[in-house]
């Protein structure tokens, strides 16, 4: 915990790794990845006869489940790009749920969203005061904020919601957003999906899931992902904010007010996490605030962000993966999960062929072994016990990270306490 004593501006002492120039731009890689995932899913769905893998409903569920995680993850992104680790996302999210319910039941969903952002931002402000002004270890402050967020909302609910809802742990019900669909397009996709054509119907199902029953909050979240990318990577403000996460000393020497940008990053982080809380409260299935409803989603959001390599696109992918896996297990349980295992076997087969082409015999052999084991599981089991499928999203996240972690790169000064002068 003495990292603060290290000087991040130390001249590099190693040979700069002479990397190959990246030939494929990031967005293209992402497109290829998405296309690959679609092909894999539709093949699996075809071979195992489990249409739920790509059904409209599954995709809609995935979107709804991913939304709070995505927003929390975006919150993490803003803080960590400014160099502040935010493990307090969960607490800020809880504050957001409370704020959303409190404003929502009185003034409707947009007020709920706003209040959630404000309440989350208050959590962020506290985190910023502790970490930026007082130089407290970021993790310590985050843990404390999680405690405070939980305690404060419980206390406030007893005071304010109890007289209204007769329940100290629940708010009165909150009006929700209307949802919107791309009417004609959606129906046309629906017909296509119903035709059960290999591949085509899968794509139609996925697309339909994305354009049907969309809440303004979902649109806003997507806009926030794109907006975060544009603001953080394409604007002056973003450049300054990121420089605080990469080398605050250098930034300060160029006249950037590092404290200010860190404050903005962390407060913004709290606001986004708070909106993640609002996404829970404003979910059609939720009556409103409910104690314990965040249920660790703030932590999952943090994981999604790390998973996404501290980038909005990657974070979207992480949240989507988690939401998809969770949705699948919730909607259809053990049998579908088996289909996913089958999909993993297919994926491994592709990887093995790729490794063979690259003459990586060892990696290829490892892939073959893993594939055989998974196939054996698929073959011998009728249904995975529900105790285990419930946590399939966790398992999938862990596996993907184990495969991909080494490519991750966090901001160079992330988590380092910065002191002016």
């Amino acid at each position: 915990m003495s990292t603060s004593l290290m000087n991040p501006s130390e001249a590099p002492t190693t040979v700069p790794p002479p990397r190959k120039a990246r030939r494929i731009p990031g967005w293209a890689t992402a497109m290829i990845g998405v296309a690959g995932a679609v092909v894999l899913l539709s093949t699996t769905s075809y071979l195992t006869g489990v249409p739920q893998l790509t059904s409209t409903g599954t995709i809609q569920t995935a979107v709804r489940l991913a939304l709070p995680i995505l927003l929390a993850g975006l919150g993490g992104l803003w803080a960590e790009r400014a160099g502040v680790v935010n493990i307090g996302l969960e607490g800020m999210m809880i504050m957001g749920t409370w704020g959303a319910a409190w404003a929502g039941y009185q003034w409707g969903p947009w007020a709920a969203l706003l209040a959630a952002a404000v309440f989350g931002a208050l959590g962020g402000l506290l985190h910023a005061i502790a970490t930026v002004t007082f130089g407290v270890n970021h993790i310590v402050s985050g843990v404390a904020i999680n405690l405070l967020g939980a305690g404060l909302t419980k206390y406030l609910s007893t005071l304010i919601f109890f007289p209204l809802s007769n329940n100290p742990r629940e708010s009165p019900s909150v009006p929700k957003f209307d949802t919107y669909s791309a009417a004609g397009f959606s129906d046309w996709l629906g017909e296509l999906e119903a035709q059960q054509r290999v591949g085509l119907s899968d794509v139609a199902g996925i697309l339909r899931g994305l354009v049907t029953g969309v809440s303004p909050l979902t649109m806003l979240a997507v806009a926030l992902v794109i907006g975060s990318y544009l603001v953080l990577w394409k604007s002056r403000f973003g450049l300054r904010l990121r420089s605080c996460g990469e080398n605050p000393v250098a930034a300060e020497s160029l006249g950037v007010n590092v404290y200010l940008y860190k404050y903005i990053g962390v407060i913004g982080s709290g606001a986004l996490a708070g909106m993640g809380g609002a996404a829970l409260v404003l979910n059609p299935g939720q009556p409103g605030y409910l104690e314990g409803q965040t249920n660790g989603r703030g932590f999952i959001g943090l994981a999604a962000m790390i998973f996404g390599n501290w980038r909005p696109g990657g974070l979207l992918g992480g949240a989507a993966l988690f939401g998809y896996a969770d949705g699948l297990q919730l909607r259809s349980g053990g049998k579908t999960f088996l289909a996913l295992i089958y999909g993993a076997v297919l994926l491994l087969a592709v990887i093995v062929i790729w490794q063979l082409v690259r003459r990586r015999w060892f990696a290829a052999a490892g892939g073959v072994v893993a594939a055989v084991v998974l196939y054996a599981v698929y073959y011998s089991v009728d249904e995975v016990p529900s105790e285990l499928t419930t946590y399939a999203p966790h398992l999938v996240t862990l596996i993907v990270l184990a495969v991909a972690s080494q490519r991750l790169r966090m901001p160079a000064a992330d988590g380092v306490v910065y002191r002016r002068g």
Binding site: S165, P172, T179, P287, G327
Partner: protein, 359 residues
């Protein structure tokens, strides 16, 4: 162009295709055997100090804690009880917190003391022997070897059986669903009864089942989002009547049913009349009633009369310890006759309802 969605035109609209289940022969109409446990005798309980230790959620949870509270309120007004004290458990608390709560009540002179929820079983095992003169009771649990603890257990499977019958009669697709909150034995009883009831009424019926979280992870009772998604999955699979035993997560089940315009059956109390799910009330065709209020009231009354032996071993259909709600008028006379018929058969013992789910 983007069109605003108006509720009720989702996937559910396609469900009206088939005409419902091929039903089994209806049971013989029942002769009226209303459980007349409460003949209006005057009992005076004004000398009693009643203590209630709620499970997580406490008074106001719109579920079984609230039901216990209702029993207490009734006891207050009907038996003239003056002194009551109610304490509530915190989520994730340690065992000794429950013990302290009970001990606190006992040493302040409260008797009877009721532990609401099976979570109090272990604590009562320790605390009850320390206060042999205090009369304890536990809802949903049994404490072996403690003579001063009265178990107040319910035949949830019997009530759920009737819920299964309702579901079978109401389903147009002959396909129903059950959403359980946490996969614990207690919820298994709801599951088992529902399945048996549905199958008895319509042998060909298809049943979807989902527990939100496994045993030990009690967030399954607290996550309406998950309840909603699980319900949507079942609706998409074809189910058009959903029964839940998922606590607060059940609100998500109702909302999913509402948006797909399918039917739902509530649990524990008459959820049709519950404020927090008022938006979805029109899809709630019935609720399986678990009369914790009756049990609590009867127990307090029995203590006041000093006649604990009169209490039933199990609060089942016979003593109206479980039942079904008719609010909302979705249960017509025909169905009611059928239900009463099955009820009579269960009471007579012609149908034995299992309390263990098949899978």
């Amino acid at each position: 162009a983007c069109a605003k969605d108006n509720g009720g035109t989702g996937t559910g609209s396609t469900n009206n295709a088939s005409g419902g289940c091929k039903l089994a022969d209806k049971p013989a109409a029942a002769t009226a055997t209303s459980g007349s446990t409460s003949a209006d005798e005057k009992v005076d309980g004004s000398a009693l100090k009643v203590g209630l230790a709620y499970d997580i959620g406490g008074r106001g949870d719109a579920s079984f804690n609230d039901s216990a509270a209702a029993g207490l309120d009734k006891a207050k007004s009907q038996l003239g009880i003056k002194e009551v004290k109610e304490l509530t458990a915190a989520p994730n608390e340690a065992e000794d917190a429950k013990q302290t709560r009970l001990r606190q009540l006992a040493s302040e002179g409260y008797s009877p003391i009721i532990g609401v929820g099976f979570a109090y079983a272990e604590s009562l095992k320790v605390v009850a022997p320390e206060f042999p003169n205090v009369k304890f009771a536990i809802v949903d649990g049994v404490v072996e070897g403690a003579a001063n603890v009265t178990p107040l257990v319910f035949a949830e499977e019997q009530g759920s059986f009737l819920a299964g019958v309702i579901a079978a009669y109401q389903s147009k697709t002959c396909h129903v669903g059950f959403v359980g909150g946490v996969k614990i034995p207690l919820i298994g009883k709801f599951d088992a009864g529902f399945e048996q009831g549905a199958k008895t009424a319509a042998p060909d019926i298809k049943i979807e089942k989902k527990y939100l979280t496994p045993a030990g992870d009690f967030t399954g009772f607290q996550d309406p989002t998950k309840g909603q998604e699980a319900a949507k999955g079942q609706i998409e699979a074809g189910a058009d009547v959903l029964y839940h035993a998922a606590g607060a997560s059940g609100k998500g089940v109702f909302s999913a049913a509402k948006s797909a315009n399918v039917k739902a059956i509530g649990v524990d109390s008459d959820q049709y009349n519950q404020a927090t799910v008022a938006e979805s009330k029109d899809v709630i065709v019935s609720s399986m009633l678990k009369r914790v209020d009756v049990a609590v009231f009867d127990f307090v009354k029995a203590v006041a009369k000093n006649d604990l032996a009169s209490l039933p071993k199990v609060f089942d259909l016979k003593v109206d310890g479980v039942g079904y709600a008719e609010s909302g008028g979705k249960i017509d006379a025909d169905l009611k006759a059928v239900l009463e018929g099955y009820k009579a058969q269960i009471i007579e013992g012609k149908i034995k309802v299992s309390d263990k789910p098949t899978s």
